[in-house]
């Protein structure tokens, strides 16, 4: 028997899924995240699951892990004491950033303070030209001087970022050598390793963040690994990256530490992609709505949309990550009437404390959850864990006081209004992720998860003319399974830039060969058999002088085919192609991946019952309260077909269906067909 574990640490819960591969049987453990010492909950959950399955630790043949240690280190500024070596004349590159202010009108808004204070930025004599030729040799004395100063200052980790190092890493590498020789305990991150692309601020910021995260990640991951080993686990944990691949501990606490800091939603997206595929959908908008935020992702032709530019806490970050739009709209978003009389929802949130008024934990202000309670979408009297029982009266009082009263409307009208407004904000996010890429939302199915996603999904899809809503099995399972389905991934880039007219197929093939050798090195480091690796070379192309590039797959057909593919892609995305115009290649990216050990989905855990209806409850439908059946999802047999209006409850989310039909598919997905 082959057993694997996927363990995802979220802000509130740690979800762990033990999967028996041949039978598809799962053992699922959900336990509160132990903030500040995540390893405790992870190890506890692993031991619990092994006990449930009745197997020994050494029977495990896989352990995939998603952690928020890096994210938390940034949010709480608890990374290592970091220094920066930079080309002379540019010590303020982090402080200036792109010279923009944080808010157009709010004079008090500020960019975050750099992770390296100015006193720990050391200027190094050296200079490269944009093509990588040496304009001024590396002044090694300035490196040695900086090292002495760093040692005195108690620096733990150093980032090295020199101008134009993407074109020639020699100076950075030599400086790193000197550091290693003089200060062997210092951890080092060099920008040409972390991100070999032009744009000194973003490259330096990403490299500094990598250096900043290396020590805390190493501590954490070693602690996990050591505990697992002493428990008898013999496999090495694989760590989730924000781009949806896994990597070994050594890589995750070294050159790719920064790749873990936006990995939170990645596992869920991989799980979502696989469940959607099983249901027969390759084009999907995913929506994940929780207590404080609404995340929108996109799967196009079975591929999860990836981007290479993002930010965390106001710091730019250039690593591959799933392209997810996050809005401050969640169940806890607070509704209020502004000074002009307009109904606003968010961005302020009641969060977990005090939480929505209906939770009775001290919240007095009306939230989106309270609106859902008033309209019967969250059943009054229902226990939702943590000793919380839904209290409609408290919800109604809050909405009456802060919205219905001031607007002179009924509590139900106000609740409908709150949902309409928050839905409008979320529709805007779903529209953005599709139409900004020249895609039509109505051509996509929507997969809804998170505690509040299925509550709102049907209404959102009606606004967007979407035909199908998919509600996968529980969100926790989605993440756990997602980790087990994650491939090994590694990207390398090359700055071959210039007009296609001046380039030959062999230029590009040579550049690809160089990147392939780098990928072979990384695969060897990560103990991946290169024979299993799939390579996808992509050219970033644009019309000469244009700002945005489009990624075009390089095929054996060569440049002419790539140029034609670019014209077509431009036509598709922007509505026009300029066939007479010169085309520039700005970068070559080689994405490598090795398949996950398994592609199998778990069998649904259903105890089908003749009477899956657990209650009848009033639900606001088309302007009036109507008695509707409430189903327990765990009791819905595969193949069940239901006609709304109805409510489906499960322990961690609730689905509202009004005039639609619902089917349970063979993987446990709920498929809702919207009326046209």
């Amino acid at each position: 028997m082959v057993y694997r574990i996927g363990c995802d640490v979220g802000g509130t819960f740690t979800d762990l899924c033990l999967f028996e591969e041949e039978t598809g049987k799962t053992f699922f453990v959900k336990t509160p995240t132990t903030t500040g010492h995540q390893a405790t909950a992870v190890v506890h959950a692993a031991r619990t699951a092994l006990g449930m399955a009745g197997i020994a630790a050494d029977e495990l043949s896989g352990f995939a892990h998603g952690t928020t240690v890096a994210t938390n280190a940034i949010l709480e500024r608890r990374g290592a004491r970091t220094a920066l070596l930079i080309t002379r004349g540019f010590r303020d590159v982090l402080a200036i950033g792109r010279q923009t202010r944080a808010h157009l009108y709010d004079q008090y808004a500020r960019k975050p303070e750099p992770l390296v204070p100015r006193e720990f930025v050391y200027e190094i004599g050296e200079r490269l030209a944009p093509d990588g030729t040496v304009a001024q040799a590396l002044d090694e004395e300035t490196v040695r001087g900086a090292i002495s100063a760093m040692l005195t200052a108690g620096i733990e980790t150093v980032a090295i970022s020199f101008l134009h190092s993407y074109a020639n890493p020699a100076h950075e590498q030599r400086a790193a050598e000197i550091v290693r020789a003089m200060a062997p305990d210092l951890k080092i991150s060099i920008s040409s390793d972390v991100l070999a692309e032009p744009g000194e601020f973003e490259r330096t910021s990403t490299t500094v963040m990598n250096a900043y995260l290396m020590p805390p990640l190493k501590d954490y991951l070693e602690r996990i690994a050591n505990t697992l080993v002493s428990d008898g686990v013999t496999v090495e944990p694989a760590i989730m990256q924000s781009g949806g691949g896994v990597m070994p501990i050594e890589t995750a606490s070294g050159v790719k530490a920064v790749h873990t800091c936006l990995s939170g939603p990645a596992a869920g997206m991989i799980g979502a992609r696989r469940f959607a595929e099983a249901a027969g959908y390759k084009n999907v908008v995913t929506i994940d709505m929780g207590g404080t935020s609404f995340d929108v992702g996109l799967i196009e032709n079975g591929q999860i949309l990836t981007r290479y530019e993002s930010e965390i806490e106001g710091f730019p970050l250039r690593v591959p990550m799933f392209d997810i739009i996050t809005l401050g709209a969640g169940g806890g978003s607070i509704a209020h009437v502004d000074a002009g009389g307009l109904l606003k929802v968010g961005p302020e949130s009641a969060g977990a404390r005090p939480g929505p008024a209906a939770y009775g934990k001290g919240g007095e202000r009306p939230t989106v959850t309270d609106a859902n309670v008033i309209l019967g979408r969250l059943r009054p009297g229902r226990e939702i864990g943590g000793g919380i029982v839904i209290d409609r009266q408290r919800a109604a009082r809050a909405v009456e006081t802060h919205v219905a009263g001031p607007l002179g409307i009924s509590v139900e009208e106000a609740a409908v209004g709150i949902l309409q407004v928050v839905n409008a904000a979320m529709v805007r996010g779903m529209r953005r992720i599709t139409v900004e890429r020249g895609l039509e939302p109505r051509d996509f199915a929507v997969m809804a998860f998170g505690g509040a996603g299925p509550l709102h999904a049907v209404d959102l899809c009606a606004e967007l003319d979407v035909e199908t809503v998919i509600v996968p099995p529980s969100p926790g399972l989605l993440c756990g399974i997602g980790l087990l389905l994650a491939p090994w991934k590694h990207d390398e880039t090359s700055m071959i830039s210039g007009l296609t007219d001046g380039m030959s197929n062999s230029d590009i093939r040579t550049a690809i060969e160089i990147l392939v050798s780098k990928i072979i090195d990384q695969a060897n480091n990560d103990r991946i058999d290169f024979k299993s690796v799939t390579l996808a070379p992509v050219l970033e192309m644009r019309y000469r002088g244009q700002g945005h590039q489009l990624p075009i797959h390089w095929t054996p057909d060569g440049l002419d085919a790539a140029v034609e593919a670019f014209h077509q892609a431009h036509q598709r995305s922007f509505g026009y192609a300029r066939r007479g115009e010169s085309i520039e290649i700005s970068m070559l990216r080689l994405s490598a991946s090795a398949p996950p050990p398994s592609d199998r989905l778990p069998v649904p855990t259903i105890t089908a019952s003749d009477d899956p209806v657990i209650a009848r409850s009033p639900l606001w439908v088309e302007g009036a309260m109507v008695e509707v059946p409430v189903y327990d999802r765990a009791k819905l047999a595969i193949g069940t077909e239901l006609q709304g209006p109805l409510i489906v409850e499960q322990h961690d989310t609730t689905l509202i269906v009004s005039a639609q039909t619902l089917v349970v598919d063979s993987h446990g997905n709920l498929i809702i067909r919207m009326q046209k």
């Binding site: 032009p198 000194e200 000074a339 002009g340 307009l342 953005r432 900004e436 700002g547």
Partner: protein, 524 residues
């Protein structure tokens, strides 16, 4: 009526999405760094009466300019814009800005031909001719010297480009391909916006849409009125100095403003401001209105929606033929980069008296523009580098000013050093904050910036600096900041250039820009 406020907020999200999609389309299709990376543009959505109902804001100075541009253009045409026709103009007395800010407007019609609304965007084009590369020359006395000035002309008809119009822009420009590319990107953004607005109106229903928009503007007005009523009867008066140079001598121009809040309305009277001059620091009155809106938002309500409702509680009075209400054909190239910042400082000074307990110190006070152009010896093609430099923010009650950030009327991103060196015959020798350049105070002013560039081609240099003699002021006993300056060094030695000047320089010259910090808050 009360229920309309819910619908209005729902529709506001839809409208904002339209404006955002226009912005995204423009960024993705534009050719120039100026638009795609520095985001020197704004997009607006309008109702059938030409009233601004939503805006995607990147540049505060555009706020009040975009707002009235549709109605002014229609008035200028003498008739409404024909169906399926996009109109382009850069006339400062329509756009409110300088010549490089080009506006493209598209009508949005129902299938039966009824007018539903308009979309428009304003974007800064790299070069439209004139004395110097960048079309922001000094030494002009008349707008005809500044470059191409285009009245409302047809750019697109039934989805097809009007080639004569495009050719006009190309002929006038030193960077014809760039201008054509950006102009078509502006049109593409409008195509996107028009489609989205029509779909939004159809989804909402025309009548409900109309109700929602009416409510949206009314609630914005109400929100502003309430903010003013809390300050009812207060007055403030302030004047600040704009540096000018005439017939070989330094001249100080005055921007004076009297603010009065009466009956929930702000009255801004610029009587006492200097008359227009024979040089490009004059501003069309719409720009002055834009500054008033900015200061109101910044001082009172940063998150209030930007729409026509804002204008209903503001009464503006400006002396004719003054630097805050210039008449054609006076040159206006520096109105956005310099004059707008001085108008803003004067307004903030006056607002400080309206709210004497929470004053703000003056910020860097200029957009600190540097424009270099010539022929790149490596490619043989002409190049045009335009960039505005940040400075220090003034100290605030309880908070030091930020260092090295764009303040007030602009917020464009810088060009990365590595991209500058890849794109232009320029080498950046250093780029950093200037220690000690912020005004001292309990909450000190932010620091200004220094950037030194080695210019590797014979070039024409234009600079727009202010606050070289009159430094950004402090408040509550805080000190003024260090001023700005530009220095060039070549074989012949080193010299400071006048803050507003155009100069020919030889390959091998280094240019050092130093921007002013922010004034300090409170005595130390």
């Amino acid at each position: 009526m009360k229920n309309d406020t819910i619908l209005a907020e729902v529709v506001r999200h839809g409208l904002q999405a339209v404006a955002e999609e226009m912005g995204a389309a423009l960024i993705r299709t534009a050719h120039s760094i100026n638009i795609r990376d520095r985001r020197d543009f704004s997009c607006g959505v309008f109702d059938a009466k030409g009233q601004l109902i939503a805006q995607a804001e990147h540049i505060p100075v555009h706020l009040g300019l975009i707002a009235g541009v549709v109605s002014r253009t229609i008035e200028n045409l003498g008739e409404d814009i024909a169906a399926a026709t996009m109109v382009v103009t850069n006339d400062p007395w329509l756009t409110g800005s300088h010549l490089p800010d080009v506006v493209v407007i598209a009508p949005v019609d129902a299938e039966d031909g009824r007018r539903l609304g308009y979309v428009a965007n304003m974007a800064h084009q790299v070069d439209l001719g004139g004395f110097a590369p960048g079309s922001l020359a000094l030494g002009t006395v008349d707008i005809t010297q500044e470059g191409l000035r285009v009245p409302p002309m047809v750019l697109m008809r039934n989805g097809t480009v009007e080639h004569s119009t495009l050719a006009l822009f190309k002929l006038a420009s030193r960077t014809p391909d760039m201008v054509a590319g950006d102009l078509l990107a502006q049109a593409a953004a409008n195509t996107t916006g028009a489609r989205r607005l029509a779909a939004l109106i159809e989804r909402t229903g025309e009548e409900r849409f109309h109700t929602a928009v009416t409510t949206l503007l009314a609630t914005t007005e109400k929100r502003l009125e309430n903010a003013f009523r809390a300050l009812e009867g207060r007055k403030g008066q302030f004047s600040d100095t704009l540096e000018w140079h005439e017939a070989g001598t330094d001249v100080d121009l005055t921007v004076a403003v009297n603010l009065t809040i009466a009956d929930g309305t702000l009255h801004a009277d610029f009587t006492g401001t200097s008359g227009q001059v024979a040089g490009p620091v004059n501003a069309p009155v719409f720009l002055t209105a834009s500054c008033v809106l900015y200061v109101v938002k910044a001082m009172l309500d940063p998150d209030i929606p930007s729409n026509a409702g804002l204008f209903r509680r503001i009464v503006l009075k400006t002396p004719e033929r003054s630097i805050v209400d210039a008449a054609a054909p006076s040159p206006v190239a520096l109105c956005t980069s310099i004059t707008s910042q001085r108008i803003t400082d004067a307004l903030i000074g006056a607002f400080n008296q309206i709210r004497p307990d929470t004053p703000m110190a003056a910020s860097t006070g200029s957009m600190n523009a540097l424009i270099l152009g010539g022929t790149d010896p490596a490619t043989g093609r002409s190049y045009s580098y335009v960039e505005t430099y940040a400075g220090g923010q003034g100290g605030l009650p309880g908070k030091a000013g930020a260092s090295g950030v764009h303040c007030h009327m602009t917020n464009t991103a810088n060009s990365p050093v590595e991209l500058i060196e890849r794109a232009y015959p320029l080498t950046v020798l250093d780029y950093g904050l200037i220690d000690g350049s912020g005004g001292a105070g309990e909450f000190c002013g932010g620091l200004g910036l220094r950037r030194t560039i080695l210019v590797n081609a014979d070039s024409v240099l234009t600079v727009h600096l202010d606050r070289t003699r009159h430094r950004p002021w402090g408040v509550m006993g805080g000190s003024p900041a260090a001023g700005s300056r530009i220095t060039i060094a070549a074989e012949a030695g080193e010299r400071h250039l006048p803050g507003k000047s155009t100069t020919r320089i030889k390959a091998g010259t280094t240019v050092k820009m130093e921007t002013a910090g922010g004034g300090g808050w409170g005595s130390v």
